[in-house]
Symmetry: C4
Subunit: 236 residues, 4 copies
Amino acid sequence: MILKELRFDVMRANKEIVRLGLVGREEASLTLGNVSGIDKSRSCVAIKPSGVPYPSLTPQDVVVVNIQGYPLEGARKPSVDTPIHLEIYRNFKDVCAIVHAHANYSSSFAQAGVPIDCLGTTHADYFYGPIPVVPVLKKELVEKDYEANLGKAIVETFKKNNINPLEVPACLLQHHGLFAWGRTLSEALRNAVALEKVAEMNFITLGLNSKIKPIPSYLHDKHYLRKHGGKAYYGQ
Amino acid sequence: MILKELRFDVMRANKEIVRLGLVGREEASLTLGNVSGIDKSRSCVAIKPSGVPYPSLTPQDVVVVNIQGYPLEGARKPSVDTPIHLEIYRNFKDVCAIVHAHANYSSSFAQAGVPIDCLGTTHADYFYGPIPVVPVLKKELVEKDYEANLGKAIVETFKKNNINPLEVPACLLQHHGLFAWGRTLSEALRNAVALEKVAEMNFITLGLNSKIKPIPSYLHDKHYLRKHGGKAYYGQ
Amino acid sequence: MILKELRFDVMRANKEIVRLGLVGREEASLTLGNVSGIDKSRSCVAIKPSGVPYPSLTPQDVVVVNIQGYPLEGARKPSVDTPIHLEIYRNFKDVCAIVHAHANYSSSFAQAGVPIDCLGTTHADYFYGPIPVVPVLKKELVEKDYEANLGKAIVETFKKNNINPLEVPACLLQHHGLFAWGRTLSEALRNAVALEKVAEMNFITLGLNSKIKPIPSYLHDKHYLRKHGGKAYYGQ
Amino acid sequence: MILKELRFDVMRANKEIVRLGLVGREEASLTLGNVSGIDKSRSCVAIKPSGVPYPSLTPQDVVVVNIQGYPLEGARKPSVDTPIHLEIYRNFKDVCAIVHAHANYSSSFAQAGVPIDCLGTTHADYFYGPIPVVPVLKKELVEKDYEANLGKAIVETFKKNNINPLEVPACLLQHHGLFAWGRTLSEALRNAVALEKVAEMNFITLGLNSKIKPIPSYLHDKHYLRKHGGKAYYGQ
C-alpha cells in the first residue's frame, strides 16, 4: 500500500469531521463531507472514497489519485468531489489538506449567499478577511464537468479578489457548503471548525443587531498578525 | 415468532430515532415518534407498540398487523398511528419503511405551515423537490377515523401535486410533525435525518435572508440526478 | 430514616433534571432547579436540600418537611423554593410531584412574559390549553414572604382562569422559570421535558411565522382526549 | 515545583472550560480561552501556557508569573492574555481566579456591542446588575501594549460606572469575548457558565420580544440579596 501514513491520517480526519459536528449532529449515516491530503511531492492525493460511511472507513478504503485525477491505488471510487480538491491543490501551492462539509451554520450562510464578515476577534484569530461566497455556477458549467468547474470557480474567486488562500483558508460555495484548507490536516480541520463557530456567532450577532459592521481593520490586523505574522507572539 | 428479523430491525430503528435526535434531545420518556417496516410480500407490517418507552423495547414488543390493520402477532396494541402507516404502504408501492417523529425543526415548519423549500444542495442530494405540507384536516375528518384520514390526506397531497413519493420521500403534517420513508429502514431513517438537518438549515437561512428563493432547477436536477438518476455517479 | 423510598426517588428525580437538560447544558455547578414529592397521606413533602450540587446528592440529603413547612427529618435546610411547592400541594389535590427549573426556552418565554400557546399536536398531547404566565409579583409581595406569595400567585392564576392543574400541569413564572407537576415524579419530569420541547419549537415556529395562531380547538381536543380523556386510546 | 496545588487546580479549570462548552462544542483544537488563579499572598499568578491544547495540559505546563508578569517558573510562555489577567488582579482586590473565553452567546453579545441586561431571576441570582460591554480600544491602544490596555479598559469601565466587580463578576470585551471572575476557581467558572446561559436566554427572549425591559429593581434586589447579601438565605 503506497502512502500508508497519509491514508491513515486522511481516514482519521474524515472520521474527525463527524466528531467535530461538521457534517451535522449524529448524522453518521449521511455522507455530507470529505477530507483529502496531498503528499510532499504534490503528485498524489489521498481522499475519502465515494459513499462509504465514516465509521466503517479504513486506510485501505482511502483512494489515492494523481494530481490529474488518475487513480493510483485503492479498490474504491474516489469522492465525487475529487476534481474540486485537485483544482485547489493545483492552484493553491501551499495547501496540503482540504475539508469539505455541509456544516449547519456555514452552509446556511452559503444558502443565503451571505459572506461571513469579520465581526469579532475569533474570526480575526483565524482568517485575515471575510469568508467569500463563490457564486453559483451558470447552467452550462453545472451540466458539464460540474465538479471541476466548482474547483475553478473557487480559484477564480480568490484570484479575482486578490485573496491569499493561506490568509483566508476557507470559502462558501453558494447554495452548497464550506471548503476549508491548511498546510496540514489538523490545520484544515481547525479552520473548518473555526469557520463553523464564527458562522454560528455571526448568526446570533446579526439576530441581536442586523446593522452590525465588521471590526476596525487595525483590530483585525492586530489579532491576525500577532498569531500569524512575521512577529507573531500569540498563544492563549 | 413470525417475521423475527423484521421485528428486530424495526425495534432497532425505533431506538435509532432517539439516538439520532429525531424525538428531541434526551427525551427518552416522551414517545413522540414511531417506525414501521413492511415484509417482502407487502402483507405484514411490523410497528412500534403503543406507549412503550424506546429503551425498553424488545423484538417481542414489536406488533405485527396485516395490511388492513388486523393484528397478527404481539401481545401489545400497535401504535395509535398505525392507520397512517398502512395507508402509505397501500398507496406508495415501493415504500418499505416509514418513520414518524416530532423532530424540533421539521415540526416547527409543520406548526408554521411552511413547506421546506430547496435552498441548497444538501436538500437536492436527498429530495427532488420541496417538502410539502399536508394541510390540517377538517373537523369531521378529525373526529372520526382521524388516523386513517391523516394517511389519506398524505396520499392525496402527493397524488394531487404529482409528487413521486420515492423522489420526495417525506412530508410535513400541518401543526403536527414529519413523516419520512424509504425502500429500507435505513433509507427511511436517513431521509428523516436529512429532512431535520435541512429544516434546521432553512430556519437559519431564512433568519439571514427572509426573501431567499429556491435554488435554480438545473442545480437541483444536477445534485439529485447525479446521486439518484439512471446515470448516478455520486458519492462524497 | 422516614420515607426512605420517596427520598430516594426525589434524589433521583433531582439528578434527572440535569441529565434531561432542564437546568442547562452541563451546568451541574449551577443549582437552578429542584424537585419534590409528597407522600400518600399528603402530610410529608420530600424536597431537594438548599444549595447542594446535584451529582453529590444522597437520599440522606433530601429534606422532609410537613405540609406546613415544619422540618421533620434531614440535617440540611430545605430548598429556598419549598414554600412554593407546599402552596401547590395544599391547593392542587392530585398533584404528587413538582419540578422547578430554569430551562432555557421555557424561561425565555417567562422572561418575555409570553404564554406558550398550543401551536401543534406535541403541545396538545401533553397540555389541554396554553401554558399560562403567572405575572411578576408587586413589590410588597416580593419583599415579605416572597416564596409563599409566588406559590399563592400560581394557585390564583389557575383558579381565576378556571384552569384544571391536571389538564395544564405547568406554568411559567414571569421573569423567572418553569413549574411543572404530575401525579408521579416521572409524570412531573415528563411534563417539564415536554414543556421545554414545546417552548423550543414555538420559538422556531414564531421565527418562521410571527403571526401564527393556535391550532383549531377540535384538533387540540382530539389529541389531548385520545391520550388523557375517558375514552383514551392513544399510544405512539 | 512551586505552587503545586494552585497549578493543578488551574490546569483542571482550563480543562473544565472545554467540558462546560465555554470555548465551543467539541473544539478542543481551538484554544479560545484561558483560566488563571492567584496565590494567597497575591504575588504569584498561575496561568495557562500559550498555545497548548487543553487535553494535553499538565500542572508542569501551567506557568507561574509574579504580579508584574515576571516569569517565576515553568518552561513555557504564559498565555498572550496574561497582562489582562494581571491588570484585573492588581485592581480588583478580592478576585482570586479569572476565566476568559469566546463562548458563543456571550461573544455574540460582545460582537454586537449589546450589554446583557437582567431580564430574569437567573441573571439576578448571579449578577447584581447588567453585564457591561468594555468598548473596543482606539487604534494606538491596540497597536502598543494591547493586552495591558485591554486590562486597563476593563478596570476603567468598572470604576467609571461604579460597578463592584464582586457584585457583577463578569464583563464583555466588545468584538471579542467574555471575562468572568470570582473568589475561587470554581466561583469564576460558575460565573462564566451562568453568563453564557443568561446570554443564550436573552437572545431567545429578545427574539420573542425585542422591546423587553429589565426586571423591576426590587425583584433584582430580592434574588441577588437573598443569595449574596448579609442576610442571605438562598439555596435551591
